[in-house]
């Protein structure tokens, strides 16, 4: 009998134990960290703006704590991997609130324009920056339709072992790739008190995220651009 790794047990346990709507890495897709990312998976999010509480920043706080980015009191140059956007429809006055981060596009413009290939998409659809070959040209920031990236304007402190950062390079949401590779949920999803964020494999028709997207009306930001983002929204 094959011995289960701690990671697999955790992933299986999470799949069984957590409330519906929060878990979502099927055990079959949990992988060993040393295994390469697979194109069989397409990791994504479904965010329900109707559940997202105005003024709540739990997802932002969780991201900061997990990834080690913080404010230096200079809002214009401080990084923001995820932020809450308040929306108002001027014709009806309807208001909503939702988190926006890297949308992990299937056709990421950041990766297309990056001269060195530092911006890239993994086989499983997660878009990342290779900090070793980012030259800090910021062309990806010009190209990103979602304003999802930040340039590191000053020295960084409190770096996490899983997330090295560097002054002079560009960074953004990694979909908590270090957690996903361990079969865990992204920090923002885990900490959302309203259960407004659902993480899972868009390629797996049996996954709750794929099933909800198949059954309910969802949208993606700037769908018209044809970039096929992995982050879906509803209730916007």
């Amino acid at each position: 009998m094959t011995e289960l790794t701690r990671r697999q047990i955790l992933a299986t346990g999470a799949a069984i134990a957590l409330a519906p709507g929060l878990t979502l890495i099927a055990p079959a897709h949990a992988k060993n960290a040393e295994d390469p990312a697979s194109a069989q998976n397409r990791w994504g999010l479904l965010i329900d703006a109707a559940k997202c509480a105005k003024g709540c920043t739990s997802c932002v706080d969780a991201c900061k704590a997990e990834q080690g980015w913080s404010s230096q009191g200079r809002p214009q140059t401080d990084p923001q991997w995820i932020r809450k956007i308040a929306l108002r429809d001027p014709s009806s006055g309807r208001e909503s609130s939702l988190p926006v981060m890297c949308q992990h596009c299937a056709e990421p413009p950041c990766a297309a324009v990056c001269p060195t290939g530092a911006s890239f998409k993994r086989a499983d659809g997660i878009v990342l920056v290779d900090r070793h070959i980012c030259i800090g040209c910021r062309y990806c920031m010009m190209a990103c339709p979602y304003k999802a990236r930040s340039f590191v304007h000053e020295d960084v402190h409190g770096q996490r072992p899983h997330m090295p950062r560097g002054k002079g390079t560009v960074e953004g949401c990694t979909l908590c790739v270090h957690r996903v590779d361990e079969g865990r949920l992204p920090a923002c999803v885990e900490k959302c008190p309203e259960g407004a964020m659902l993480f899972g494999d868009l390629n797996d028709p049996a996954s709750p995220i794929a099933q909800r997207i198949a059954a309910e009306t969802t949208t993606r930001i700037r769908q018209d651009l044809g970039l096929s983002p992995a982050v879906h929204y509803q209730g916007v």
Binding site: Q76, M142, P145, H153
Partner: protein, 402 residues
């Protein structure tokens, strides 16, 4: 028409060394700024996560665009066989290289990690127009270098037309690449337009010729060589056509945007409500860059005044810098539209007009680009036979005295 001789400049006068010294001060200022910015991080500049490209890019793109345009005087001589421009060809080619070097230096020194230049030279993503531009820029040095060899070395002279044609095609492709840096940005409403590439080509003709006229006039005045009105008039008339062409492309670009309801917001910002950006567009790009040069070039009262062509050239270059500021800063100042039709706000300035005030270091870095280009020209005219001994009308005008 007599054969025109080229000779190195003497380059021993106090004025020459003072000029080099002054340019050196600006270059050191740029290098010091780079050190300051890289040591502290870019938060000490006016650039932010909203305005990610600032005045260093304004200057760098202006110089790169002007570089390809500066080569046109040589192209007109060898590709289009207008022999009257032939004596100017070496200066035209050297100025093109110098402007490109100045622009690229600023671009590289403003990188977040300029120490990783070698990474940019060894890792290529061929889907990126930036990566293509690295090839186009380095190739430009090689192709124009070859072209210069055909001008300066008698053994390669028979290949002059071939090299000139290659350089001409290369420069068109290069400016297509520069314009496409903006044209390919699908998400930004101020860019994302196929017209950006041809528009930048037309801009380059005007900015490059303006820079050429200024350098030509200054170098002849400073070395006491005679520059007759015949050639200057021809260059002035050519500048008029290029400035009119730039004006035309600008009008078409904005009219096309205004026709699309989706882009009326960004156009209203650029043309009406954008504060500094709007002022720079109307006063800088349009009045200084187009209307005043055209008035100086085509109004009978002014056109034959000896300084009019140089003033027109200076205004064209200043207008070009204003255009780059409006294009690069203005295009970023207008917020991205993530949710069209909705009002958005966030701690990351979604939905807000972004402001930008350039800091002293980044301004000095930008200015050093001009200084680098001019210093290269000043050294080159001392080392090589680039400047004609005289361009008096009797040597340039085939109908002189008839």
């Amino acid at each position: 028409m007599a054969k025109i001789k080229h000779l190195e400049i003497d380059g021993t006068s106090a004025n020459y060394w003072a000029l080099l010294g002054l340019l050196g001060v600006f270059i050191l200022g740029g290098l010091g700024s780079m050190w300051f910015m890289e040591h502290n991080g870019h938060w000490v500049t006016g650039m932010t996560n909203q305005i990610v490209w600032g005045v260093p890019h304004v200057m760098a793109v202006f110089l790169i665009v002007a570089a390809s345009g500066a080569l046109n005087v040589a192209s007109i001589a060898s590709v289009f066989n207008k022999t009257v421009y032939k004596p100017l060809a070496p200066l035209s080619a050297f100025l093109a290289l110098a402007l490109l070097a100045g622009g690229l230096a600023v671009l590289v020194l403003d990188l977040g990690r300029p120490d990783r230049l070698m990474v940019a030279m060894t890792h290529y993503n061929f889907k990126s127009i930036f990566a293509w531009n690295i090839y186009l820029y380095t190739g430009f040095f090689a192709v124009v270098g070859l072209y210069l060899l055909t001008m300066l070395g008698s053994a390669l002279k028979p290949y002059g037309r071939l090299a000139g044609t290659l350089a001409f095609i290369w420069r068109l492709v290069l400016t297509t690449g520069t314009g496409s840096i903006f044209g390919f940005l699908v998400a930004r409403q101020a860019y994302d337009a196929a017209i950006m590439a041809p528009m930048f080509i037309v801009f380059s003709l005007a900015y490059g010729l303006a820079c050429f006229l200024l350098v030509l006039g200054a170098s002849f005045a400073m070395t006491g060589r005679e520059l007759g009105p015949f050639l200057v008039r021809r260059l002035r008339n050519l500048l008029g056509v290029f400035v009119a062409g730039s004006f035309y492309m600008t009008v078409v670009h904005h009219l096309t945007n205004l026709y699309s309801a989706e882009r009326q917001g960004v156009e209203a910002f650029l043309l009406l409500d954008g504060g500094t950006i709007t002022s720079l567009f109307w006063l800088g790009q349009v009045v200084v860059g187009y209307i005043l040069p055209l008035a100086l070039i085509y109004t009978p009262v002014y056109r034959d005044m000896p300084f009019a062509p140089y003033v027109a050239a200076g205004l064209t270059a200043a207008g070009g810098l204003a255009q780059m500021y409006v294009t690069i800063i203005g295009g970023q100042a207008y917020p991205l539209s993530l949710f069209p039709g909705m009002e958005a706000s966030s701690s990351f300035f979604d939905g807000a007009i972004n402001t930008y005030v350039p800091s002293l270091p980044e301004s000095l870095l930008a200015l050093s680009g001009i200084a680098i280009a001019l210093a290269i020209v000043a050294v080159v005219v001392k080392l090589f036979r680039v400047l004609p001994v005289s361009l008096a009308d009797e040597t340039t005008d085939p109908h002189h005295g008839l």
